[in-house]
């Protein structure tokens, strides 16, 4: 497995070990540095731990066999997550550049990998911050009692509740109507919603003020944004465990179903979750690692951050499901007492004669004697499992299920504020990494004049992303966001991750890489790293990529729509995409992925045709040249 592509001129492009030692001692002032190790670790933990840990992992865990899901998750964490993380940390620390700089140093044809990272970071940052805008909107609305999503408004002539709200629930109505004001199709754009635009502007300006000077300012901000979520999760855990029905939720989450391990999609979802959860291939981690001192122990860091990320996923899953268990129990109790009420009123039984205990017996008795009356009552079937599995993923979890649970808790506004502050901090620290993954490559590519300070570049990035993000503030914005989420943040990242591994192992050279790590941390990486870097991790990535690609191509492209006219309202209806969406999908998924080969080809052609004119590169190293230079310096 000592395959290595020829790579002439590599030594000229990267600093040697001696130069690194010299740079370390002289402390070159122009490259930013971490104030202390804690800042670096908190920033990386913040980048990795994001909204996915709270609203994707618990759903995957519960739907793929509960406690049994831990097995594929942990296996793939060790075989895929940790090696990739160590790789990114080590290469960033060694080459001391952002993502574009690192790949360009390894080989100019690989600049495309850095550019792909830049594009993906930009696209993902655009829609991720819109979710932050939604979170901020809910946060702003949490400072009132009663919470606005606990009541239905009255209709125009004050005779009853608004029909849309009465047919669905108050939380559904607040989310789909008062927050998103959603239209019924992705092509009905419906214009910008001013309150969403304000929230979006608030989200981007808050992000800007935290990122304004790069890690100088984000390094201070992460002390709060990375630690506060853990505090809030603990508070919610204590609160959750004291609520009725929370144990039901936790049991539902963790009860293992070992048969699920036979299902290949369980392993696929586990692999994809590990990959996306570690925020790999965005370029942000390489950047952060490049600000470390040269002898920082990146191996230890990789293992530590992986463990923290995994544990956070499990911890937040426990908290989320304790609250979901409470909500499901409340809904179940409401459902059964509603049925008992109807039965009691129909047959004029005294109160408290029909209880949960004898309900079934009484119902069957009446079914035999008066079946027609029973029909007319329209009793609902109350099933605990249905309530526990309702809408527990993504934005549905945060903005519908959890908000419903919060309004049933005493002193709701406090819990709402705490919850949305936690989500906000989780998202903000991830956005720091995203912005890093956009701004540093822009500086490395020399697109913008060097005289422009970092503040201006960051400001420009935030401004352009905010302007582009306005498409998500339209009435159809939710559908656009789901589109971006499925396509911009999935296949390109897998492609980039695979290219990274191949580039470092086979173009940079695994021998050189081993020597570098030995230079940096004092010992050569052991057999585990060798095997996973060279064989296991790339293989897992290829498998996941192929399966992902195949499932995306084969499944019919539909999206879920909130439509009052639909038959199953309030359940979301699946509707096929219009045909022009395929162009958009190609731009989202195809352009970043194709940037890698296109740029490689472009550089290759450039090299071939411009090979003869190589004289200008050599510097003439004579004293007279130095004299001339120094005369200029005098002036």
């Amino acid at each position: 497995m000592k395959l290595k592509f020829p790579n002439p001129g590599l030594d000229d492009r990267i600093p040697s070990h001696a130069e690194l030692e010299r740079m370390e001692k002289e402390e070159a002032g122009d490259r930013p540095k971490w104030d202390n190790k804690t800042q670096y670790l908190l920033t990386c933990v913040g980048f990795c731990v994001g909204l996915g840990n709270v609203w994707r992992f618990p759903y995957l865990c519960q739907s793929h066999g509960g406690g049994a899901f831990m097995i594929p998750f942990l296996i793939l964490l060790v075989l895929e997550g940790i090696p990739l993380l160590h790789l990114e940390f080590a290469i960033g620390q060694r080459l001391r550049k952002g993502s574009v700089g690192v790949w360009r140093s390894i080989h100019p044809c690989l600049t495309g990998v850095g550019i792909a990272s830049l594009l993906v970071s930009f696209l993902v940052g655009m829609y991720y911050n819109t979710i932050m805008a939604w979170i901020m909107w809910y946060l702003f609305n949490s400072f009132q009692s009663p919470l606005p999503w606990s009541q239905c408004p009255l209709n125009a002539n004050k005779t009853g509740l608004v029909e849309e709200c009465a047919r669905s629930t108050t939380v559904d109505y607040f989310w789909y109507r008062e927050t998103l004001n959603t239209s019924t199709a992705i092509d009905e754009s419906g214009g910008l919603q001013w309150w969403m635009v304000l929230s979006l502007v608030a989200a981007w300006t808050l992000l800007y003020v935290c990122c304004i000077r790069g890690i100088e300012t984000t390094g201070k901000a992460v002390y709060i944004t990375s630690t506060l979520p853990y505090v809030v999760l603990t508070i919610f855990l204590i609160r959750g465990l004291t609520l009725k029905g929370s144990i039901e939720g936790i049991k539902f989450l963790f009860i293992p179903d070992v048969d699920e391990l036979m299902n290949p999609s369980t392993w696929l979802d586990a692999g994809a979750q590990v990959f996306y959860s570690f925020s790999l291939a965005f370029g942000g981690l390489i950047s952060f690692s490049s600000y470390n001192s040269i002898h920082n122990n990146c191996e230890q860091d990789a293992i530590l951050i992986s463990i923290i990320n995994g544990c956070t996923s499990v911890y937040s899953a426990t908290v989320i499901y304790s609250i979901i268990g409470f909500r499901a129990t409340e809904k179940f109790d409401d459902c059964t007492s509603d049925n008992i009420w109807k039965l009691m009123n129909a047959f004029n039984y005294p109160e408290n004669n029909i209880t949960d205990g004898n309900y079934d017996q009484v119902l069957s008795q009446f079914n035999q004697t008066n079946p027609d009356i029973i029909q007319g009552l329209q009793l609902q079937t109350c099933d605990m499992q249905t309530f526990l599995s309702q809408g527990v993923e993504g934005t549905g979890l945060a903005f519908i299920v959890f908000t419903e649970a919060i309004i049933k808790m005493p002193v709701s506004p406090i819990w709402a504020v705490l919850f949305f502050v936690m989500l906000f901090c989780l998202g903000l620290s991830t956005m720091f990494g995203n912005i890093e993954g956009v701004v540093v490559p822009l500086q490395d590519l020399n697109i913008l004049p060097k005289s422009w300070p970092k503040e201006i570049i960051t400001g420009l990035t935030c401004l352009i992303s905010c302007a582009c993000g306005l498409i998500f503030t339209q009435q159809s914005g939710n559908y656009w966001l789901a589109l971006f989420d499925s396509f911009a943040g999935s296949i390109p990242l897998l492609v980039i991750g695979l290219c990274e591994m191949i580039a470092v192992m086979y173009i940079y050279g695994v021998d050189r890489f081993n020597k570098d790590i030995e230079f940096m941390i004092g010992h050569k990486p052991n057999l585990f790293w060798q095997v996973t870097w060279r064989v296991v991790s790339p293989l897992i990535m290829v498998v996941i990529l192929i399966f992902y690609f195949v499932t995306q191509i084969t499944k019919s492209l539909t999206y879920l729509v909130w439509d009052q006219e639909a038959v199953d309202f309030p359940t979301l209806e699946a509707r096929p995409f219009p045909s022009w969406i395929n162009v958009i999908i190609f731009i989202l998924a195809g352009v970043p992925s194709l940037a890698v080969p296109v740029f490689a080809l472009y550089k290759f052609i450039q090299n071939k045709c411009c090979k003869k004119e190589d004289y200008s590169d050599d510097t003439v190293d004579t004293i007279s040249a130095k004299v001339e230079m120094n005369d200029k310096m005098k002036i």
């Binding site: 702003f140 608030a202 039984y349 004293i623």
Partner: protein, 218 residues
């Protein structure tokens, strides 16, 4: 003996008339349902004839308030009591005890005095139900300025102040550095002029003069 029979007949007639006036699903009657245990839990009182009397008095009060005529307890007829605690009632006119008051008038009277009737029984609109008379909905009063805008304003103000502060310190810092570089540069120039050539100095540009190796070797 002969006096009793007409009396008995009269009583029968009256009771049957009353029975005919008040019946379940009567056209001018309403069904009332009380949920004492739901509303009051442990402090629930037992529903008995006295409570029924209170109800009939409360209804008479409501009719008087709405109509102005002198309704009495005897004008409110009740029937079909169930253990649920639900029953039907009708209201007869004070002028003619065999004439029932119109449904709409009863509804109006109940609506007007709903609060008073509820509080007489320590119940609410949901636990003292008049089937067919929905409770009037209380519109939630919207606050003068939406609270979310206030929080938004506070947050944006803080963020704006932060941006101005950080940018301001950056600008000041860069100005200070420029000044330092300028004054440092001027000092360096004066030094070099004062020292003249040939003097050993650390700066690179003097090396060319002091480096003998560059002279052609004879």
């Amino acid at each position: 003996m002969e006096d009793v029979v007409p009396l008995l007949l009269l009583l029968l007639c009256v009771s049957s008339a009353a029975a005919q006036l008040c019946a379940p699903d009567a056209s001018n009657g309403y069904k009332v349902r009380l949920s004492l245990l739901t509303a009051l839990g442990d402090e629930a009182y037992v529903w008995n004839d006295s409570e029924m009397f209170l109800f009939r008095a409360a209804m008479a009060f409501a009719m008087r308030t709405a109509d102005g005529q002198n309704y009495n307890v005897s004008n409110v007829l009740v029937c079909d009591e169930t253990p649920r605690v639900s029953f039907w009632f009708v209201v007869t006119s004070p002028l003619n005890s065999s004439l029932l008051v119109e449904r709409r008038q009863v509804e109006e009277a109940v609506r007007k005095s709903r609060n008073r009737i509820n509080s007489a029984f320590l119940l609410t609109d949901n636990t003292l139900e008049f089937l067919g008379i929905p409770p009037t909905l209380v519109a939630p009063t919207p606050p003068s300025s939406p609270p979310w805008l206030i929080v938004f304003g506070v947050v944006m103000g803080a963020v704006g102040a932060g941006i101005v502060l950080v940018l301001g310190t950056s600008v000041m810092q860069s100005r200070r550095e420029k000044k330092k570089a300028q004054t440092g540069f001027e000092e360096g120039e004066e030094e070099s002029r004062a020292e003249g050539n040939g003097a050993a100095s650390d700066s690179v540009y003097n090396l060319s003069f002091s480096d003998d190796d560059r002279l052609t070797q004879m």
